[in-house]
């Protein structure tokens, strides 16, 4: 049977982006039909009764029974059978959603307020999830602070990301394109900004990995290295174009000559090349609760041990580059022999 509302599905369901859509969408439509039929029946009967049995001059209601065991049995057993059917459909679909494919590639997902970090099998990491069409992937989810949830509507896939527990989920993308990854468990100020891109590439997995997931610090400009770290670790709370986020923007930070704090005396710098400035940035990243910038709350986690001194240096280079509020990709350095 052709489902006439199927072509309407684009108005209430996202595009089918993974094999899961073929599991969940047919049941979604089936329940939609069951609901429409029973709801229309209930409302029509209710309105019809309200009209023909309304109180009016000259109307005398006829006697009617106050219960009917047969009728009540019918409308107990009937819905029960339908519900049992829905339950089994949902349960069997659920087991597909939770049984990972054997050929799935493994990606580590680390969530924190308010960043997503994806670590690939080759050790590279980034803030964009690169996938290859028709290649099943298995995500190992872990949170560094509070509960987050991984959700891509097109994939019909969702799993909570818990601190202290490792959850895994899998899916097989079937649609090439760029999608949004949402955090769907409330996690604080930047919850609605915890949105990142998921790109499904047409290339097979190995080729896709070679093209998009290969980063060597030595092959890139220090500012680009810093930008990559910024995207993964800082962008959830700090903008560089001056817009408001949970933490202060990086615009103008490198050129600032002083900084005021919630408590304690203000600091003065002699520019971004001065030791005072570098020590301040380093301290802010490693021990963020030491000085809180005026107008902000003490919310930042410590990055002590997560970033090497070399990486701190890249971030400082990046801060200098975005001082004016814009970022332009620096050229790749010439390969040295």
């Amino acid at each position: 049977m052709i489902n006439p509302i199927h072509s309407l599905a684009q108005f209430y369901l996202p595009p089918k982006g993974s094999t899961f859509a073929d599991v969940t969408d047919p049941l979604f439509d089936a329940i939609l039909w069951i609901s429409i039929v029973s709801f229309v029946a209930i409302v029509v009967v209710m309105c019809w009764f309200a009209i023909i049995y309304r109180r009016r001059p000259g109307y005398k209601p006829l006697p009617s029974p106050s219960h009917s065991t047969l009728l009540e049995l019918i409308w107990t057993i009937g819905p029960t059978l339908i519900l049992v059917w829905i339950f089994f459909q949902g349960a069997s679909g659920y087991s597909t959603l939770r049984t990972p494919d054997q050929d799935a590639e493994l990606i580590e997902v680390t969530a924190s307020q308010f960043n997503w970090k994806f670590t690939y099998p080759n050790g590279d990491f980034g803030d964009t999830l690169h996938l290859s069409v028709n290649q099943p992937v298995r995500l190992q989810l872990v949170s560094e602070d509070v509960i987050h949830s991984f959700y891509v509507p097109e994939f019909r896939a969702k799993m909570d990301v818990m601190p202290g527990r490792r959850h895994s989920m899998w899916f097989k993308p079937t649609l090439v394109g760029e999608f949004k990854l949402f955090c769907t468990e409330y996690c604080g100020d930047g919850h609605s900004k915890m949105v990142k891109n998921v790109i499904v590439h047409p290339e097979p997995w190995d080729e896709m990995m070679r093209k998009y997931v290969r980063w060597k610090d030595a092959e890139n400009h220090p500012v680009a290295n810093g930008a990559r770290l910024y995207n993964v670790y800082c962008s959830g709370c700090h903008s560089f174009d001056g817009s408001a986020k949970t933490g202060p923007s990086f615009k103008g930070l490198a050129s600032s000559t002083n900084r005021e704090f919630v408590s304690g005396s203000p600091l003065t710098f002699g520019g971004a090349d001065s030791d005072e400035w570098k020590n301040y940035v380093s301290e802010s990243i490693k021990r963020p609760d030491a000085r809180i910038v005026k107008g902000y709350a003490n919310q930042m986690p410590s990055f002590e041990g997560k970033l090497s001194e070399e990486q701190l240096g890249y971030i400082m280079q990046f801060l200098k580059a975005v001082d004016g509020g814009t970022y332009s990709e620096p050229p790749k350095p010439e390969k040295t022999q």
Binding site: I31, F49, P61, W75, G93, M162, D189
Partner: protein, 568 residues
């Protein structure tokens, strides 16, 4: 037969010597033990909470008119939805029907003078008011931002706001709820007069009885959970926070073990109100009385076993999810049958399309949508993409607001002649009922669509494709706001200037309508005669009182005919 004056005294409007002017002064209200005055004071608090939390909702909806931030920061938006949810849940919807309508009519429906423990009843009112004021002051001064669910470890470790004071407020309010539940259980068990058998209880009392069982059994679990949360936050014991060896899933189990049954605390009394109003305004016995009565108890008991359906994506085991999904579907059956029974009650009825009846019909419409959309969320595979999206937001608003709030408003109109002794303005009542109905659907129906399209809940900023649904929702919210405000104003006007109501203006057969309007301090001036709750032949319209009076069965004191002599 009684004279017209006698009839007016017995069954007409009580001009004086009723509960409202039995004593005067503020102290006579604050220290009253009268269940009716306690109900009225609950009503002030509950309606004020509804308006306050409603204003928060309008602020949220206005802010969501645009995809980006408009006039609120991320942090203030999060505080706003926390305030909206927490005030609506703890101060409005949980107390709403039991504390107002339950407190007012429960003893009278039973044929009793008061509840079993009037002092406990007053204590529960004080706890509600003190806890409520404390809660609102804390929430609005400390910028609580955890959402009403207080999920760990956000609430124990990450949130910088005063979670301890807020949970303490919810803890106090929990006791108010427990006291009311305990009082109702004891009252219904011990204070039924002769002739009031269990199966002669009006269906509202079955609903309140089932609700009270949940309140007494489930609320302590919330209390303990909130105390553990406080302990975790202060002492870092390692119960819920993995940083100290705790488990955040444990908190979710504890929390939903209360908060799912709490959904039935919200809806069961509302279903009882609907059964009462439907019977009276159709002048027909409720179809399948025993089934409706028993289904309330069944829903209350099974409702304890479905909490895990809030956690299908939380990483609980597959088997656990399967079991919770199956039990969830089993609760759907009694709810569906209730709807069919209500429809059948209308069959061949004598339907008075009054304001309460219109609220009943909009309840069936909205609860129908709320119940049916639960099917997507109860089924495991379809719940995965829908979990924590606006689909869920729309679903529970259809059940709680479309269900409970509609029933509460309808119930206030229905019992207003009893509360105030006055009739409300019927055309205006109907007009604002229509505003509530239309505004509600415009607010929440688009949320189903954006939810199934993937819009996550609790999002301050969102993608532009969802904007049209958000805009429709915002317009709807203002329409709904006008409807609720208008409906309450119609009632307020009626309280002071309404036409005087007789004792039984609707022709109802339950006992509270045998009292005068408003009832006297002791409710009944004479011993009550208990009959079937829906025997509408027992009352008849009498023009001289502009209401219904009991039919006094014709009885002869002695046979006035000589028995025929036997002939052989």
């Amino acid at each position: 037969m009684a004279t017209v004056t006698q009839k007016q005294q017995l069954f007409g409007h009580a001009a004086s010597n009723h509960y409202l002017d039995a004593s005067r002064g503020v102290m006579s209200w604050i220290f009253t033990l009268d269940h009716k005055r306690i109900a009225i004071m609950y009503m002030y608090g509950v309606i004020a909470s509804l308006f306050l939390a409603g204003i928060f909702a309008l602020v949220l909806r206005t802010e969501l008119y645009t995809p980006g931030p408009w006039f609120l920061s991320n942090a203030v938006y999060n505080q706003m939805f926390t305030l909206h949810g927490a005030v609506m849940v703890f101060l409005f919807i949980i107390p709403s029907v039991p504390a107002i309508i339950g407190n007012f009519v429960l003893p009278m429906m039973l044929g009793a003078k008061d509840v079993a423990f009037p002092r406990l009843n007053l204590a529960s009112l004080w706890l509600y008011w003190l806890g409520g004021i404390f809660f609102i002051v804390v929430l609005s001064t400390t910028q609580l931002d955890t959402g009403w669910t207080f999920y760990t470890p956000y609430s124990t470790s990450s949130s910088k706001t005063n979670v301890i004071a807020a949970t303490l407020g919810a803890f106090i309010l929990g006791f108010s709820s427990i006291f009311t539940g305990l009082n109702f259980i004891v009252t219904i068990n011990t204070m039924r007069p002769k002739g009031m058998t269990w199966f002669r209880l009006p269906l509202l009392l079955w609903g309140l009885y089932s609700t009270s069982i949940i309140q007494v059994l489930a609320t302590p679990v919330l209390g303990i959970t909130l105390l553990l949360l406080i302990v975790e936050r202060t002492l870092k014991l390692g119960i819920f926070d993995p940083a100290y060896g705790g488990d955040p899933l444990l908190y979710q189990h504890f929390f939903w073990f209360y908060s799912h049954p709490a959904v039935y605390i919200m809806i069961l009394p509302a279903m009882g109100v609907i059964s009462e109003m439907l019977a009276v305004h159709c002048r027909k016995e409720v179809f399948g009385y025993k089934f409706i009565a028993m289904s309330s108890v069944a829903i209350a008991l099974i409702g304890f076993l479905v909490w895990g359906h809030h956690m299908f994506t939380s990483g609980q085991s597959e088997l656990t999810s399967l079991v919770f999904s199956a039990i969830t579907f089993s609760v759907a059956v009694p709810s569906a049958v209730k709807v069919f029974n209500w429809l059948c009650t209308m069959y061949r009825g004598d339907i008075n399309l009054s304001t309460p009846m219109l609220y009943v019909m909009s309840f069936i419409f909205l609860f129908g949508i709320g119940g049916l959309t639960g099917l997507w969320l109860g089924a495991l595979s379809t719940d995965i993409p829908l979990h924590d999206t606006y689909f869920v937001v729309a679903h529970f608003h259809y059940v709680m607001v479309g269900g409970t709030m509609t029933a509460l408003l309808g119930g206030l109109f229905h019992w207003w002649p009893k509360f105030s002794g006055r009739m409300y303005n019927e055309p205006l009542g109907k007009l604002f009922c229509f505003f509530v109905f239309a505004g509600f659907n415009l607010t929440f129906f688009p949320q189903f669509i954006m939810g199934s399209l993937g819009m996550p809940r609790r999002y301050h900023e969102y993608a532009e494709i969802y904007q049209i649904y958000h805009q429709a929702s915002t317009w709807g919210a203002f329409t709904l706001g006008i409807g609720i405000f208008g409906a309450v104003m119609v009632l307020v006007y009626a309280w002071f200037f309404g036409r005087k109501a007789s004792g039984n203006p609707w022709g109802a057969a339950t006992l509270e309508w045998q009292c005068s309007s408003p009832p006297s301090f002791h409710n009944f001036e004479h011993r009550v005669i208990v009959s079937e709750p829906y025997d509408f032949e027992s009352v008849i319209y009498d023009e001289s009182v502009d209401g219904y009076i009991p039919v006094i069965p014709k009885r002869d004191l002695a046979p006035n005919q000589q028995p025929a002599t036997a002939t052989h």
